[in-house]
Structures are given as C-alpha cells and as structure tokens.
C-alpha cells in the first residue's frame, strides 16, 4: 500500500503541475503545449502503463487488506450501540478509519474523470479537440475540451470538488502512514510526516478543486 501510494503521489504532482497551466495562461496555449507533451513524450508513454499497474495494485491490495481485517473483527462491542457509548476510536482520526471508503469515492471520481477527458483525448476524440490552438501542427485543443465541459455542466464542477476533498482526506492519513509502514518514522519524524501529509493534502485538495472552480467562475464574470 505504502509503495504504490507514494508512487501515485508522484503522479499527482505531475498532474497538478500540468493542470495548473490552465490557471496560469487564459489563452490555453501553455496547457495545450503541456498536454501535447504528456501525450507524445516517449518516457511518459512508458510510465503511463506503470501508473495504471500502480493504481490497480493499490486498489487490489487495499481490497484484500480491508476484507481480511474486517473478517478479523467479527465480534464487536455490543454495549457500544446499545448503551450509546463513545468507543475507543477516539484516539484515531476519522480519515485513518475510512481510507477504503475515501478510496472508493476517489475511484468513482476517477472513472467519471477518465470518461470525460482521458477517453476523449486518447480514444474517441471530440469536436472541441479539433478547434484551432494557434500552435499549428496536429496539437489537440485540450484546453477547449476541459474549459467547455466545466462551463457547460456545472454539476461536473461539484463532482470535481468532492473528488478533490476525498483525495485530500485520503492523503491526510496516507502520507504519514506510508512512511510509518516502510519503517521510516520515529517519534520525531512522525510529527514531521504528519505535517508534510497535511501540507500535501491541502495542496492537492485545494489545487484540484480550485481549477474547475476557477474555470466556472471565470466564465460567469
């Protein structure tokens, strides 16, 4: 879980960097260039299937571990519900106890995300992609596709905000937990990883939620 998780964070860094081009350049030239590079660079081409394998492995391991652990906790404290007691989960964070649920939310978001953009850019194509980019050659207008989608269908923005928040919560526990699992932690580093985890989760949740909101708000002003 830890190794695949940390690997997926590397992907998130690249993804957020490319996406941020949308905000930095309103003409879309920068983003289209970045998207074109990501689509055609041979090294990215090699990493892409590795990423897919990493994601699938992360999901498969998570499912196995969650199933096994739930099977181990067959007997629960019947007094808790019956007499409305606070349980011993007081010492743990909500995110740490709900990683699989948060992961499932992210997965559902991911499917919607891939259908909306990845599928259209890679497989089916879209008339918006054919629009002129001003860059010449056969560069697709990914900027037009992305911005038009968010402007046309406001609910999509809401879905992206929810997905980003789920990702942030997932990373809030995931980052420090990954280093703890690998043994790269002690009393001092635990605090450091925790802080780094919070910073990373805020950056990714904030960043990925900000971009669709930015596009939507910009279209309204």
């Amino acid at each position: 879980m830890s190794i695949t998780g940390l690997f997926l964070i590397l992907f998130l860094i690249v993804h957020l960097t490319v996406n941020s081009m949308i905000v930095f350049d309103d003409t879309g030239v920068l983003f289209n260039q970045a998207a074109h590079f990501m689509a055609t660079d041979p090294i990215i081409g090699i990493i892409e299937p590795v990423l897919a394998i990493g994601l699938i492995a992360h999901f498969v391991f998570a499912s196995i571990i969650t199933y096994q652990n739930q099977a181990k906790r067959t007997i629960t404290y019947s007094g808790l519900k019956r007499y409305k007691q606070k349980d011993s989960s007081v010492g743990s964070t909500w995110t740490s106890r709900n990683m699989y649920i948060l992961g499932a939310v992210i997965l559902i978001f991911l499917v919607i995300h891939l259908i909306n953009f990845f599928w259209k850019m890679k497989v089916s194509g879209d008339p918006l992609l054919e629009e002129a980019t001003g860059l010449g050659g056969d560069i697709e207008n990914a900027y037009a596709l992305v911005t038009t989608k968010f402007i046309e269908w406001k609910w999509l923005v809401a879905i992206y905000v929810v997905g980003a928040i789920a990702l942030g919560l997932h990373l809030h526990h995931g980052v420090w937990s990954a280093f703890q699992t690998l043994g790269w932690s002690n009393r001092k580093w635990r605090t450091i990883w925790n802080v780094i985890g919070i910073i990373i989760s805020v950056i990714f949740a904030g960043g990925f939620a900000f971009i669709p909101l930015y596009i939507m708000i910009q279209s309204m002003v």
């Binding site: 096994q68 349980d87 011993s88 989960s89 964070t93 106890r97 043994g183 932690s185 635990r190």
Partner: protein, 253 residues
C-alpha cells in the same frame, strides 16, 4: 455512590452471553474500579447469585491481568491507567457503567469478563526471548548500552501484555504488542542474535493466530495503559523488512 452497572455475563465459551444490569450503592469514590467490582460481587454473593468473573493480580498496574472494556474504552476513560488503578473518582453519582470483555477472534471469552489471551504467549514463544551466554560469568561492561537506547528499550519493555491494543483496534491487530516486544530486544546487544528472524517469526505467528494487520489508525497507542508509542511499530516494520531480506538471501543460498 449509587451506580448502575451493566456487565457482560457469559457462563462459558459456548454460551451466547448477555448484558445484565445491577444496582450498586456500596461503592465510594475512594475505591478503585476493581474494588467497586469486588463490592458488587459481595452483593451478588449475598443475593445468592454467581459473582462476576474478572481477571486481576497485582492491582498496581504492572501485571496486565485486569483487561476489560469500561464504557467503550479499554481500561476505562482515563489515559494511561489500567482498570485496577482506575479511580472511581472518574465516575459520578448515578452513572451508568458498561463493562465488557475484550472482543477479538483471538481472545475468546472464557467467562464473563475473562478472555483467553494465550495467543500472546504463543507470539512470545515465536520470538519474544533472547539467547543467553552461559558458562563463565561475563565481565562487567561487556555489553555497553547508551542511556537513550536503554530508555527507548525500557519504554517498549513497559508493555504489560494486557491486550488493550487488540481490543481497541478496528482490525483486532496485535501490532503494538508485537512492536513493543520486538523493539525491546532489537535495541539491546543481548537481543541481536535472533534479530534477523524475530520480527518475521512474531508477525507470522500473529497473522496465523487471527490478528488483523496494522493500518496505522493509532487507536492502540491512545488506549495503551502504558503509553507504548507507534514509533515502536515503525521499528518493527524496519526489523520486519530486514528479516524479509535476510530470508530472501538465505533462500538463494
């Protein structure tokens, strides 16, 4: 003080078990939690009822016998306190107190609040020991140990094996217990001999006995009456990785 005590009663491992409610007025705030249960048992004996079975031994927080879930928390509401040292000052007049045994597949209930924790003994048999050089008496200062290392090892050695970590864990994992034991030996020169196999053997035994795996939620640390730190689990993970590589290398040879 007047109390309402709801206790899990189970005659034997095969019995279904149920909660029973008792009214107790003989308790006082000067009592410990176990003394309160003693008072309740005396009342039950006078009423010709079966007294509540619970484990206890030292009553000074170092034997780890007094395992019970009090109001949904292992060893009750106070931090770093065992049930036997839990003062009744933690409760108020007319409080309802719910007492349950540890719940985990690997800790079957024997009677009432008593659970079978021999699974912990089996984990210890798998690696919780050190080989000792016999023959001549070793010279003084043969094994120099730095103060910070000795203290860290002692922190781990404080584990009393009560099982609160398992009871609190949503996965019924015994990682904090195993981590404490591995950490205790891994840090000292005396424990180096088995160092390459200990973590692997103890964790394998833990899995085999039906404990879950660690997802780093930290409930165990929060509920541990001895305040064993999650840092020991990180050390266990390092020792486990080391043992894994050692096993791989050994297989190749």
């Amino acid at each position: 003080m007047d109390l309402t005590i709801k206790v899990w009663r189970q005659n034997n491992p095969h019995d279904q078990g149920r909660f029973e409610t008792y009214q107790l007025s003989a308790a006082s705030q000067d009592m410990t939690f176990l003394e309160m249960l003693d008072a309740l048992n005396e009342q039950l004996i006078h009423e010709d009822k079966d007294p509540i079975a619970f484990e206890h031994d030292c009553r000074e927080g170092i034997c780890g016998s007094c395992a019970m879930m009090i109001n949904g928390r292992p060893h009750g509401p106070e931090q770093e306190v065992t049930s036997c040292q839990l003062n009744m000052k933690a409760f108020k007049e007319n409080d309802v107190i719910v007492v349950e045994p540890w719940r985990a597949q690997s800790f079957p209930v024997i009677k009432d609040l008593v659970v079978d924790r021999s699974a912990f003994e089996k984990i210890m048999e798998a690696g919780g020991f050190v080989d000792v050089d016999v023959s001549a008496v070793p010279d003084a200062n043969t094994y120099p140990v730095g103060k910070d290392i000795a203290e860290e090892s002692f922190d781990a050695a404080e584990c009393i094996g009560c099982g609160a970590c398992v009871a609190a864990c949503k996965n019924s994992s015994a990682m904090l217990f195993v981590a404490a034991k591995v950490s205790q030996y891994a840090l000292l020169p005396q424990g180096k001999k088995e160092g390459l196999t200990r973590a692997w053997n103890m964790v394998s035994k833990m899995d085999e006995l039906g404990f879950g795996s660690c997802t780093n939620t930290g409930s165990c640390e929060a509920e541990c009456p001895k305040g064993i730190s999650l840092a020991h689990i990180a050390r266990l993970n390092r020792e486990f990785l080391k043992a894994g590589f050692h096993n791989l290398a050994a297989e190749k040879r």
